[in-house]
Symmetry: C2
Subunit: 353 residues, 2 copies
């Protein structure tokens, strides 16, 4: 099963490519009618995640429509806390919730270390199946939430705006916070390694809520655990390097520190220019991003102009993966994503001459 | 009416002080039982804003409890769109709403330019009254929302997570966005000048949602309008310089550009260390901030340690105003704010020796 399009993997390792590869965070998602159809047939969102054939199907859907350079396995970042016994469920319009959120130091001490190949076997099965179905067309990306981001959901019991409970934990009981984050870091490492062994050809860690932390707390409670995971990952599989991408939203003041974790690439949100981000990380890592997802609400002409702007901001040379600065939103017309991807294919070769 | 404590004004102008002044964003707010009592008696939130005696009362309440170096007039950032005809109202648990949000280019063209002394006379009356009541104890700060931040509420019709409508406006119809923002910049300038003439001794512009914009869009659609306002403000009154503070949350990649607007000080959120922020803005402006508001959920010992950390991060010398990195939250025990303010009084003199 030879990989026919390795543009993404080469760009993540800052190797020469003849155009900028493109994939889109949440590319298998609610903006696609075929996704909504499969999801409705699946029953619940968790049924969709836990049925390998269905997870594979929605993973492949965006690749049938768009000239994407990668697939990303369909799953949820909260599968880990779910199998640690917190029991994930979804309430329409309210986002994820846990039946058993963390409410005490004792809850943290009692958290089990799950055998991910067993309890999250459905993710590994979905990855194996998707690799077979992809047949080497493009690489498959695996992913996990970061320990800090997982901890916020586990302690708050769901989404939050202020993260009061989790912040109180790190400031008032830092040793308990570190116990929780350490357990999560070990499980995330196992989880990503199992994904790699099942066929994931690159992995991304989503630190969605890193931006809620102060500069110092970020280093202590998020960054160091991501660095620990990076150093514990299997970086070579099937005779190829497996690139690791860190995406820490709202953490642009931390780019240098993130680049020093040993990862291969950084996801960048849209609040910093790629030009500035590139100057700050230098030759250490590739950059992935960073179009404002809201650009996809405008028309084709605006999208074309803004794609050009983003490519220009990164400038000539290797080490750029085109993506949005966050996930695509449900209100986007899929034809606008076609316009974006066409623009990347049309405009990017001149940045690699 | 001599000003007995000018520590805040001196620090904002980077003049020598013998300790670091402290005030707290949203210091007159829901964490105070006396505020909740006055608010309940007032009827609606808007009644509280629009009755000068009540606005004065809640402005003064935190000064009775805490050794603060400033009062900030109690009001809401959305008073401007309200008097432009959008009609502000509040739904419990849902935040601010407008009866007549902006829904078309025509709505923007028809927006009136209010005479702020007339339509927002209640704010000016509250300022005059509060100045009399303060009797020179500490300076009084006036404020406004930034044009971009006001525009998001006006176009979305209330709060938003993605700012889809406002983003679509700036990307798809930039000339209409500029017409809206230009009108708002003129009105904000008038509004802040009227506040200064009524007795505000410093003014702050809150760009709460600046961080939602891309680096380039931020410069075009938020920063330039704040710079225009700064250059149109009356900077001298009652024989004293009136300092101007810009607070752009989530915009730490823009600190240099913000420092170049001609303002006197920048509010800084907690996601960047004051040390780094100071290195980046140099001698151009003072810095205000930047403790994570969640620190106030921890105990006195933690608060003391983190206040010390913040003072240390800024380091020796002038040009620091102690504050949180965002507004105080309703779940804070007022005694914890006492602990914070005591710690600033105790620890800060050694940074000014």
């Amino acid at each position: 099963m030879e990989l026919k399009n390795d543009t993404l993997l080469r760009a993540l390792l800052r190797q020469p490519v003849d155009r900028t590869p493109v994939w889109i965070m949440r590319q298998a998602g609610r903006y696609l009618p075929e996704y909504l159809k499969t999801r409705a047939e699946a029953g619940s969102f968790m049924d969709l995640c836990q049925t390998p054939e269905l997870a594979c199907e929605v993973t492949l859907q965006p690749l049938r429509r768009f000239d994407l350079d990668a697939a990303i396995i369909f799953s949820d970042i909260l599968t880990i806390p779910d199998v640690m016994g917190l029991k994930l469920y979804f309430v329409a319009g309210e986002g994820p919730k846990f039946e058993n959120p963390i409410r005490s130091a004792d809850d943290i001490r009692k958290l089990p270390s799950p055998d991910v190949n067993e309890s999250l076997g459905y993710v590994m099965d979905a990855i194996s199946l998707t690799r077979r179905e992809l047949d080497g067309k493009v690489p498959l990306i695996g992913f996990s939430g970061s320990p800090w981001t997982l901890a916020t959901y586990m302690v708050e019991g769901g989404s939050s705006r202020t993260f009061s409970r989790t912040k109180k934990l790190i400031y008032q009981e830092p040793e308990m916070a570190h116990e929780l984050l350490g357990k999560l870091a070990n499980t995330v490492t196992d989880y990503l390694n199992a994904q790699i062994e099942s066929g994931a050809q690159a992995v991304q860690i989503f630190d969605t809520w890193g931006g809620a932390l102060s500069a110092k707390a970020y280093q202590d409670f998020s960054l160091q655990y991501m660095a620990q995971i990076v150093s514990g990952l299997k970086r070579e599989n099937e005779g190829r390097r497996v690139p690791v991408i860190l995406f820490s939203k709202g953490c642009n003041t931390q780019l240098e520190a993130l680049a020093n974790t040993g990862c291969d690439a950084l996801g960048v949100d849209w609040t910093i220019s790629l030009n500035e981000a590139r100057a700050r990380v230098g030759e250490r890592v590739a950059l992935q991003g960073n179009l404002d997802p809201a650009i996809l609400l405008a028309d084709e002409k605006v999208i074309h102009r803004e794609v050009n702007e983003t490519l220009n901001s990164f400038g000539q040379g290797n080490g750029h993966v085109f993506n949005l600065g966050h996930g695509i939103t449900p209100d986007v017309d899929p034809d606008n994503l076609t316009a974006l991807i066409n623009a990347v294919w049309e405009l990017s070769p001149s940045f690699h001459s």
